[in-house]
Symmetry: C2
Subunit: 384 residues, 2 copies
């Protein structure tokens, strides 16, 4: 590739999925760092913590008691950002005044869940085998199905699913048809996570949030311009051939550092075939997804021999979307980890990045090479 | 205003300047916080630190010695993200292949500066009087002028400026005509700042970065739709009348928490009249800008009685822009501070925010009320 010069010069790359640019300054990684250092996270947590509101049989802030669960456990977030019920809001009618032109707001309702990944207080995704991750994927799929519009083009696929059902009294059918479900995990105190018991979140809203809406716009444009081709199918195919940004792949997914990655060790897991949402996967494919999640999170921890912080989450079809929106959607997972040089030195996306544009130091190709090289057993297990 | 219900319900607000939405969840501020706590920054720094590479007469990483300066001091960043000279990059020709369709990059050159705000190692903007801030604004204006395209519609205004000139041997005229100049400051270790000596940065590039380009698009659209009216002129007028988001104002500027603010105590300083760039201001207006910067930064420090961290920076006309780009540009400053509840508890824009959309807890109106209430003398001075 004539592009190897990009390892040495400052340049911008275009994020086709968002339609935006990022600045890459490879030489800049060499500057000394005298700024803030993160505390490497404690790696020795007990299997059960009597003070943890996520451990089995413990009591939560609102007084309810967690069941004794075996795999995952889902409950409605006690401090939800959106709620099913609230006062009605009717914005003032557009009257051509400055106020109605410049101050635009709309109500948002919805439902927020927490999902404990397992009963164990210390078992992170990186510690789990693919087989142990499968129940988490099944739970995500069940929640998605529970909220899916019966009119969705995906309803048929959802009805045909054969996976263990959610069996929890507190997960009632939602009161209303919501528009989008955002499934994500914040891991590590650096990423605003306030409880180390491995867990994720699910925020379901009447709104179609900015990020997936921005991506939808780009996916739809590509499909239109390329006679029905899917951007991420083409992208996974290309990356799987080029190899230099690949971290791991199997029959169903490509996982690697995107060409346009912002965070130093950002990773995207992309389905090779066109899959609109979680409900489109079969047993084999869920197994392959579990394998990718295990491979990526284990490499993350191995890279700096630490509990690697990140935010991760998936984008897929809206719960209630037009035919076009559902058809353009393509299942993928983003991992956004902040660390740059070691367990204690992170990348800050601050002044220039907030006011100008995102900026990265090492190239995506260098990041992928390092992640590829640290597969194998989890460093913590080797230390045992 | 019928909109007071927005203090109690979850809703989205539309950022007209970026064309994007943010989620507001006012009730959520009540949740307990057991996560990461910031270290409140040391408030007692010496006036001179022999180890500091920004103090007068000290030696920098590259071996050069700082002069004994009186006001500001500007030098080329020893670890610049972009450089004036680098190998040429000629991307492969578009050949319809997947690679040229999906992997798009372009070279970026430019020049990065550091600006020390004063010789004193501990004098932050919040400690300075407006009169002490004026030389900083003059230096920004001089640097902007030095890089301005002679063909710019702003060239005339720049030539007519009567302010003390930059008089430093190491600030040579740039080698090339660059497109945009991003002036900003990262303050505090939380914002990736690695040296407490008060300083800002200036990154000048061949590219028109994402954020100002996105704003330009919106400003231009508004002007077109509203028969030549300027979005931010209309906005400052409305906010100055509504008052509830105002923190401080004077004859030239409105300063307050934007209706669509993302960060808890985000502030925007907007020129009331249409001003395209720094070179459009006269003495009186530079004095008014200095007053606004002093009022905002002092209130920030007073709010939690700490060195309040933030990233701040200005948006204005490109150095080399079309008539339309220059005419649509409107000078304003953004302050993006991370703290939420105290000197130690910040807001994290993480999982949902990165994957879904930005989310805030207190409303902009509540934030403005608190900032209005903490004017007056700097808390540190009262303690003396
Ligand atoms: O240039 P500095 O102060 O060393 O670095 C800081 O500001 C830069 C510009 O916002 C960022 O790219 C860095 O991540 C941050 O640590
Ligand atoms: O919900 P948590 O884990 O308490 O909170 C964390 O995740 C949320 C969703 O990304 C963010 O809004 C918070 O800022 C963060 O601290």
């Amino acid at each position: 590739m004539a592009d190897h010069i990009l390892n040495d010069i400052s340049h911008r790359r275009f994020n086709l999925l968002r339609g935006s640019w990022i600045l890459v300054s490879p030489h800049r990684n060499k500057r000394p760092w005298q700024g803030l250092q993160e505390k490497p996270s404690k790696t020795t947590l007990p299997d059960y913590d009597p003070e943890c509101y996520l451990c089995p049989s413990n009591t939560r802030a609102n007084g309810s008691k967690n069941p004794k669960f075996d795999n995952t456990f889902v409950f409605v977030n006690d401090y939800s950002a959106v709620k099913e019920e609230q006062q009605e809001y009717n914005p003032e009618q557009k009257d051509g005044s400055l106020a109605t032109r410049l101050l635009r707001a709309e109500a948002v309702t919805g439902k927020c869940y927490v999902i404990c990944f397992s009963p164990s207080h210390h078992l992170t995704l990186a510690d789990m085998t693919p087989a142990e991750i499968i129940p988490i994927i099944e739970t995500w799929t069940n929640l998605y199905t529970l909220h899916l519009s019966p009119k969705s083009p995906l309803a048929e696929a959802a009805a045909a699913l054969k996976i263990p059902q959610l069996n929890q009294d507190d997960i009632a059918k939602p009161n209303a048809q919501y528009r989008y479900m955002q499934i994500f995990e914040n891991k590590g105190t650096t990423m605003g996570c306030s409880n180390p018991h491995p867990h994720g979140q699910i925020w379901t809203t009447t709104s179609f949030p900015e990020e997936p809406a921005t991506e939808f716009h780009q996916l739809s444009k590509y499909r239109e311009e390329q006679g029905g081709a899917h951007l991420l199918v083409d992208y996974a195919k290309l990356e799987s051939k080029e190899k230099e940004r690949t971290v791991f792949e199997n029959g169903t997914f490509w996982a690697g550092v995107p060409y346009w990655a912002v965070w130093p060790f950002e990773v995207m897991i992309v389905s090779r075939q066109h899959k609109r949402a979680l409900v489109d996967f079969n047993d084999k494919e869920r197994g392959d997804l579990a394998e990718c999640i295990a491979e990526i999170t284990r490499r993350y921890d191995n890279l700096f021999e630490t509990q690697f912080p990140y935010s991760m989450g998936m984008h897929q079809a809206p719960l209630d979307g037009s035919e076009e929106e559902v058809e353009c959607s393509h299942f993928h997972i983003h991992f956004y980890p902040p660390l740059l040089r070691s367990a204690t030195v992170r990348k800050f996306q601050v002044g220039y990045e907030m006011l100008g544009e995102p900026q990265r130091d090492i190239t995506p190709e260098q990041a992928a090479e390092r992640l590829r090289a640290c597969g194998g057993e989890l460093y913590r297990r080797k230390l045992d």
